[in-house]
Amino acid sequence: MHRQLVRHFFGRFFDTESLSPQGDPQAGVIQTLGILAVPSAFFVLLFRPLTLWGWNLVGVRYLFVLYSMIVMGLVVVFEWDALFLDSRDYQILTPAPIRRLSLLSTKAAALAIFLAMFLADINFFGVLFWPGVDGGSNTFAILTAHMTAVLVAGLFSALGVASIHGVIATVFRGRLYRRVSVAAQTLLMGGLVMMMFVGPLVAFRTEEFVRTNSPILRWFPGSWFIGFYEQLRPVTKSAVLAGAGSRAIPAILIAAAIFVLTFLRGAPVAPPASVRARRRFVTLASPVQNAVFHFIGESITRSVKHRLFLATYGGLGAALAVMALASGPEGILRLPLTLSFILISALRAAFQFPSELKANWAFQLAEIHPVGEYLAATRKWIVACAIAPLFLFLAPVEFLRFSPGLALFHLAYGATLSLLLMEGMFLGFRKVPFTCSHLPGKVNLTFLAVIYIYGFTTYSRTMAALEQWLAGSPVYAAMFFVAAAASLGGVAFLRRLAIARAPSLSFEDDADPAVRTLGLTAE
């Protein structure tokens, strides 16, 4: 019976809509494991020909330690609600003659297997090919030290995130628990994604941090584990770095103790999200636009999957903001452009993912208005709830850094480009957000990579340069806004043409054909 319970709890970790929206969790798990195993394999093969030593080796070690920590943290954040026995477990299993201790021990065993599987997966290739990267000669010692450091770091991160949930579950009750838990999960998701991008900058500045005795060594957990690695296999002979490592084992023991104690206590049963009226601040004149507008807002704020998805983009945005601000005076010009690009592309991607897809029959049966109405509501939501708040948030920074006239110009320029970007990105969008099935396999990664690389680099750089040039010439600035208005009119015309050609909404993503031909003809 114990084995069956462990299998049941283990299976529940994969029973998430996010992992398999089309209902094939097993394929989703295999794909996820495959994707997560690739980065360590790629980087270890990239660094292998270099054969490193000293601070260079520390920097590369740090990358692997951080990768293990970040991914294990993300895995636990993703499984946030499945970490403890929940009300569903009690409802299903309490009628059966099973003791609570058995439930707890089997749940703990399932969690341990789950974490071990991911720890092994994400570090497998990194450990296997590591000996060539380390310039030392004792292969066994190199391998053992690397394996211990990355596994312990990943385990600490997983237990640390789990213990944060445990503490929240112990301290808070009822609706407050739900709110704090949701906020913590979202922030952790965003923070870990941000670390994914900022991490390499930290990793290769370790020597500087040691030289200046930076507080990062004492307070950033990654430093504890790179210090621990140095203790296991010294390559810099730095007592300061090794000293940072003395926090690693106590930290993992504290995280484990907190998690175990809170795990035994269990998560509280949270009441329904809200039983009070939620005020609607916007009412659009067109009923159907009003319906779609509020549906988007309600879905995006209440769907865990979409919240975590947007938090991922939020983490990326925060990382790029940090990098832009650290890059010098031009960074402040690039910041709004980069953030608006990320925001609009994040929404475009989030809108594609369905939320409670089976309920979309309601939209299918109520498709009685021109398609343009549904699409207009989507664009209005993006403007009112994403672009406008972003620029309102950035306005104080602009007014503090620049003269009022220049700040206004920057904000108008950024908002205009955001509108153009939105119109461009949503030109082919023929859906009510969250109501169309989505086949992840159809995503063209090459196309996306080109778009994003262009967006994060060339787009913001070029547009910031154009902004600087336009700021010096009111005539050219006016011409820019006229051209932008004309472009917006042109896009609206193109959209009307496209709607006239196919005047219905899409509720089903077209599957790939069973047989894909090369499209060759005899001519």
Binding site: A277, P287, A291, S299
Partner: protein, 253 residues
């Protein structure tokens, strides 16, 4: 009048619904009966335009619903077999969504939604998320959503599933009231007693084919049996249920 004419639906050449024809008259409640897997829900999905038939057509007042689906959808109210709603919305938000999607101005939708929630005894739960509702409460939200725009045609697929006795009685009165107002009502159910009491006409489908389509009285007279349950038993091949019950007890012993 809603006319279902020679509707056939095949999956991989296997007919799930085979040459089904019947009419649903305005001012009457037509019951659509059949055991699980007989093709009831497939027929309903075809009528509501959620599914395309392989053959045949559905006419409303003489016009093919597929030729002008928008006009048909405007006149249609539908309660699906399964209570699938957006569970993160509250009952009120769901009705506001459905009302506005139907083109009813937000202020009118708000009033109508609140009135219906009150009449269906859901007003005190109106701000709670649907995920916290019982099956019967979800069903009442679906019925309210189907009635919100005062449709001419109502297609109700197992509307009483999970509903308590009082609500079921209210619903039966409501059906009669709607029929008196001239609505065209197709009522799909397994509960033969309810169909017998509520429906003027019944259509019985079995293994994708229509076995009977007439008034309950005429079917009783024709088949010389006193109840709809016995008509149903005669038309639909059934296993020896008493023997199956005995086998179940043996299997668990």
């Amino acid at each position: 009048m809603l006319e279902i004419q020679h509707v056939t639906k095949r999956y991989r050449n296997i007919p799930v619904v085979d040459d089904v024809s019947f009419n649903v008259r305005p001012g009457e409640i037509t019951g659509y009966l059949g055991p699980n897997g007989s093709g009831k829900s497939t027929t309903v999905k075809i009528i509501t335009t959620l599914l395309e038939p392989t053959l045949g057509k559905v006419l409303l007042d003489g016009r093919d619903v597929r030729e002008d689906p928008v006009a048909f959808k405007r006149r249609l109210g539908y309660v699906p077999e399964e209570a699938i709603l957006y569970s993160y919305l509250s009952g009120l938000e769901y009705l506001q969504l459905m009302g506005c999607l139907r083109g009813i101005p937000p202020s009118v939708t708000d009033k109508r939604a609140n009135d219906l929630l009150d009449l269906f005894s859901l007003h005190s739960y109106r701000h709670a998320p649907i995920s916290a509702y019982s099956k019967g409460m979800k069903q009442r939200v679906l019925i309210a959503a189907a009635l919100l725009h005062d449709p001419d045609v109502l297609i109700l697929d197992e509307p009483l599933s999970g509903i308590d006795v009082t609500s079921a009685q209210l619903f039966r009165h409501l059906l009669n009231e709607l029929a008196r107002k001239g609505k065209t009502i197709l009522y799909i159910s397994h509960v033969l007693e309810v169909v017998e009491k509520a429906c003027a006409h019944v259509v019985i489908i079995y293994k994708g084919r229509i076995r009977a389509a007439d008034s309950v009285e005429r079917l009783r007279d024709l088949m010389h049996v006193p109840s709809l349950e016995e008509i149903f038993s005669q038309l639909v091949e059934q296993r020896d249920l008493e023997a199956v019950a005995r086998d179940i007890v043996t299997a668990i012993a």
